[in-house]
Structure formats: structure tokens, C-alpha cells
Symmetry: C2
Subunit: 185 residues, 2 copies
């Protein structure tokens, strides 16, 4: 820009020199004016363009921040999903082990102690927003129940879960694993 | 630069004064030129300003994206920390229950089954990067061991952990809970 400035100064200088003749200075002035007006128009276009680019960048920036916030929220919300999924087989086995039938009072006592451990594991999952899906006696819901058997049993309403083969788990609003169930038709 | 602009405008002004007598239409042209040059200068300043603001915004944008990426990485790395902390009391109780001494073969068999469940829980934690801290026989390390007792025992080297009261856990490079230990002095 300094360079253009100098040109403008030169133009004024040469014009001064020319004034002495008849009227070439008017041409020169008009040309200068025309040039100056052209330059202004060009600068206005550039300025408008720069301002548009700024506005677009600002919009991109806002979008990017919004997306980053949503990403963080989603990744926070389901942060424990992988660990919970990895824990489920152990919890399934725990549950099965607790269902052991026995006449031994000693074994019953051990199982009672273990049942407390089991409940406190489920409590920790609950603190993170993960819970077991309710099944037996509930209306069959394909979002949370996976029907692996269909039966016709009297005394149960139609489309009702009558038995559960494997517990389902939900993390907040996301089904980690549907419950495997038997449904009455 | 504005300063040069003003000088250029002055030059035009003084010249204008000389011409003003017989040719008033030229004054008008010169005034227009002066105005046009002033406007150009003003637009150039605005354009430079707009370009600077764009560059600053771009730099802010880049920084913001970099920070967001680091935030996501950190929150991913330790995502399961809260759940793991919540699980530790249940795992402690599990461990204690398994250490039960018994003569009953039935109870021994139940405990063996439960030990497999316990190991698979630890395996799930390991998949997430969480592991038990090794203690007994290791050199005392205040970063991972919490000394709750100090003894003098022969046959152990000094500053060595001789007993562990409660397991410690580490998640990747972060200590979730130090091991509570007895140290030989």
C-alpha cells in the first residue's frame, strides 16, 4: 500500500508540472479521479470480501465449538460404556453362581456374602447410569428385549415377557445389551 | 500511512488554491479527487484492519481446535475412572470373601467358581487400562504405596513393602488409590 501511496504522490507532482500548458491538467485530473474512484471501488469490493470471509470464518468457528461441546457431552455421557460391556460376562457368571441350589448352611452363608458383593457391583454401575432392564411380566419392547422364544401361555397377557434367559443392560438412554427373553403370543 | 495520506491531501489542497480563481469546475474535480483519495486511504486502513482481524480469528480458531482435541483425549484416557473408583469397595469385599478359610469341600468349590468371576472382573478392568498395584516384596514407592505401618523385620531389605492391607489401583498413568502397606525400615 505504501507503494501505491507513492504513486499517488508522484501523480500529484507531475500534474503540478503540467499545469503551465493549455489544459492537459484537466485530463490528468480526471484520469486521476477516475483512477482513484476505480481504486476505491476495488478496495470496497476487497473490504466486502474480507468482511464476508470473516463472517464465514466466525460461523465456522461457532459451529466447530458447538460440535466440540456436543462431542464432549456425548463422550462424557457414555464414557463407561466399554468397561460396562466388558464387565457384563463376569456379572452374568456371578449371577449364575449365586443361583446355585444347596442344602449346606455353610454354602448358603457364603452365597449370602457374595450376593452382597454382587449387589454392590450393580450399585456402582447404577451410579454411572447403568441399570438392568426389567423383563418378566412387562410388555415385550423390541428396543430393550430380544425375543429368543415365543410361547402361548394362558394366564399371561399377549405380547408379554414370561421368562428371561439373560439380563439386559441400559446405560442412560442407550441399550448396552437387550434382555434375552421368552414372549407370550 | 495516514500521515502520508494527509501530506498528499495537503499538496492537492495548496495546488487547488492556486487554480480556484478562473476555473471553479476544476476545484470541484480536485475536491472530488481529494475526497476519492481520502476515501481510498480510509478503505485501505479498513481493509488492513479486516485482514488483521481475520488472521487473529484464524489463530483463535486453530487454538480452540487444538485445545478441544486435547480435552477429548484426556477425557477419553480416564473416562472410566469414576466407575472404577465406585467398583473398588465391591472388589475389596469380593477379595476378602474369597480369602475365607474352610474345611468344607462344597464351600471350597463355590469359592473356586467365585474366584473365576473375580478374575474376570479384574480382566475387564485391565482391558480399560486399570490394574492392581504390586506391593509385597517391592521397594516402597510413595507414589503408589501408602505406608500405614513401619516395622523392622530381618530378612527383608530396608524400605521394602512387607505386607499389604488393601490393594491399590492404577488407571494408565494415574493412581486411582494407593496400596495401603506395611514397610520395613
Amino acid at each position: 500500500m505504501e507503494h501505491e501511496e507513492l504513486e499517488a504522490a508522484d501523480a500529484v507532482g507531475s500534474e503540478e508540472a503540467e499545469i503551465s500548458n493549455d489544459k492537459p491538467e484537466e485530463v490528468s485530473l480526471e484520469e486521476q479521479l477516475k483512477e482513484a474512484l476505480n481504486k476505491s471501488a476495488e478496495l470496497e469490493a476487497k473490504l466486502a470480501d474480507a468482511e464476508n470471509r470473516y463472517i464465514r470464518l466466525q460461523a465456522d468457528f461457532d459451529n466447530s465449538r458447538r460440535r466440540a461441546r456436543l462431542d464432549i457431552e456425548a463422550s462424557e455421557k457414555y464414557r463407561a460404556q466399554k468397561l460396562i460391556s466388558d464387565l457384563l460376562p463376569a456379572i452374568d457368571n456371578f449371577e449364575r453362581a449365586l443361583q446355585m441350589e444347596t442344602d449346606s448352611e455353610q454354602v448358603k452363608s457364603v452365597l449370602q456374602g457374595m450376593e452382597m458383593v454382587y449387589r454392590s457391583l450393580l450399585e456402582a454401575l447404577k451410579n454411572e447410569g447403568a441399570e438392568q432392564i426389567e423383563s418378566v411380566g412387562k410388555e415385550f419392547d423390541p428396543h430393550i428385549h430380544q425375543a429368543v422364544m415365543q410361547v402361548e401361555v394362558e394366564g399371561f397377557e399377549s405380547n408379554t415377557v414370561v421368562e428371561e434367559f439373560q439380563k439386559g443392560y441400559i446405560l442412560k438412554d442407550r441399550v448396552i445389551r437387550p434382555a434375552m427373553v421368552k414372549v407370550n403370543q
